[in-house]
Symmetry: C2
Subunit: 330 residues, 2 copies
């Protein structure tokens, strides 16, 4: 299960087996989308499978995730999301209304995100050979010329910006499974982040170095990947990381680090120091971005460590996610 | 299960629920790929999920199918296949060597088909929540300017060309499951059909009206879809349809119509009568195309029926596949 969690085991699987065997070039960093030049345009292409359990949860469903997850992979790659292909693997016996609801959710989420569904495929497998519904989305976007993103351009002093509170999605899913005797007024944060990125691109586009959505593995894993790619260390100020009390409480109870919990509608941006305040103001001016914050900075330290500094003057190292505390989160 | 078989139930599901809900325009026929204009280029995009059981079988495996199936959907749409995205849904406990073998199969099939794998995704679900491995491929190709394909251009008198023997894939899978006490020296026909289509485009490109690969639902279903879209009837000469003795025998024993059995490495082309012989010669000149044949013609009859004429002067109507005689064939 750990191989699916988005942390170190996933990375070993992808870098050690999959990428070399299928011929994906590993001299380029593994980003959320691949770029292809077509005439004068640069297209971004990406695909993800979604296996979240349960199929529906407060704030969304597998159909919403499948659309928004792929839309967001395009958006954080600096591409305006445009079109999707959707394939469904359906377990025989899935309630017809549940299927209809997910298909409608896909249509509605695509419409909200401003992307068209071009087509897709459906397969059905016997009862007990899948788990209700798996959805795969492939997305196409056009690279936005206002954004030139690369981990190589990240410099010491750059600020780490987070678009909003972390862990809502992961903890919502955990609670929705009902395995724990816990309840909280919490919803998945699933949404398209393109409106935020579009506004950043307009206001401070040339000052944005890099972006990523911290889904599986959470903020901690994604910042470790960045630190490794950029060759610098990153320091996070724990008190500035937006975190709802419900998520903090659930994590404390379960011994989980909120920095390893999956998000679906948030993103991290590395921004040049002089533009950081303006970037946060831009995000806060958009509904749903009120809690955007500068949460840390890039340090002139070649150890590529991610450290979290607490309010009491202490500091701890946050590693990539190891193992899988919350399987099938997306 | 019938909803996944590619026949009438699949069509009702897609046309009745999925396409309207997600906003796919149904005034255009449902083709194997969608086209998107980017600058001066027209790109073809397509995606399919593969759930074949067992994962490996004589002549191929799920990895081969996933690459060739998507490559062929691009090819028969008149687009040169160029790039793939691949996502894997892995059941926890899948043998590591089986996974490695499929990843290598994907890489090798992509290399043979001349397409690059740009990236993808892996998800893992608990044991018993999938069936070993499901693979989804999304593909991108560039529309080939030598080919202008549309069911609307099909005219009475046009010839129906088939690239090779039918039913090899479906019957191979059926036998590989071992449920029947039958053995035959048969292999899946999985392969890229692009080399054949590339040669046709060079030699008789402007005479090709329409193409399709008869996968789920077989030749009978695909020709019924064409007859409906084109508004003409189609007559097939049963004696001219290439069919191996092993496939014929298995179908007779099991009461299956070879015209409803899935193929993976064959395609149908509708060709103007004056170019039909030349098209067949072109196909036969390429290794693996030796059994290509003219198998029927389009008739000036507005009933949109597909009929099969036997050697004894009789004729029968072949409908779209109803139900699912062979589930999880691809």
């Amino acid at each position: 299960m750990a191989h699916g969690a988005g942390g170190t085991a996933t990375r070993r699987l992808v870098e050690g087996l999959i990428a070399p065997s299928v011929g994906v070039p590993l001299d380029e960093p593994l980003g959320d989308a691949a770029f292809v030049h077509v005439g004068d345009e640069t297209l971004a292409l990406t695909a993800d499978s979604f296996v979240v359990r349960p199929l529906t949860f407060p704030g969304g469903s597998i159909g919403d995730l499948a659309v928004n997850g792929t839309v967001n992979d395009l958006a954080v790659s600096g591409a305006r999301p445009q079109a999707l292909l959707v394939t469904l693997i359906i377990e025989a016996g899935l309630d017809a209304e549940a299927l209809a609801a997910e298909v409608r959710a896909i249509g509605a989420a695509a419409s909200r995100a401003g992307v068209v569904v071009l087509g897709g495929d459906t397969k059905v497998v016997e009862r007990g050979k899948a788990d209700g519904l798996f959805v795969t989305t492939a997305g196409m976007g056009r690279r936005d010329p206002r954004l030139q993103l690369s981990a190589e351009t990240v410099c010491p002093g750059d600020r780490v910006i987070l678009s909003g509170p972390i862990g809502d999605h992961g903890i919502t899913i955990l609670l929705a499974r009902g395995d724990l005797d816990l309840a909280a007024d919490l919803r998945s944060d699933t949404r398209s982040v393109w409106p935020f990125i579009d506004a950043l691109a307009s206001n401070v586009g040339s000052s944005i170095r890099w972006m990523r959505d911290p889904t599986r593995g959470g903020v901690g894993t994604v910042l470790n990947e960045l630190a490794r790619e950029a060759g610098w260390s990153i320091a996070i100020d724990e008190e500035r990381v937006p975190l709802r009390d419900e998520v903090r409480g659930a994590c404390e109870l379960l011994g989980l680090d909120p920095l390893h919990i999956a998000n679906e509608g948030q993103f991290l941006a590395i921004v040049a120091p002089e533009a950081a305040e303006s970037a946060v103001e831009t995000l806060r001016s958009i509904p749903g971005g009120e809690q955007a914050a500068i949460v840390g900075e890039v340090r002139a330290d070649r150890t590529s460590l991610v450290t979290v500094e607490s309010g009491y003057g202490g500091s701890r190292i946050v590693d990539m996610l190891v193992g899988d505390p919350l399987p099938r989160i997306c």
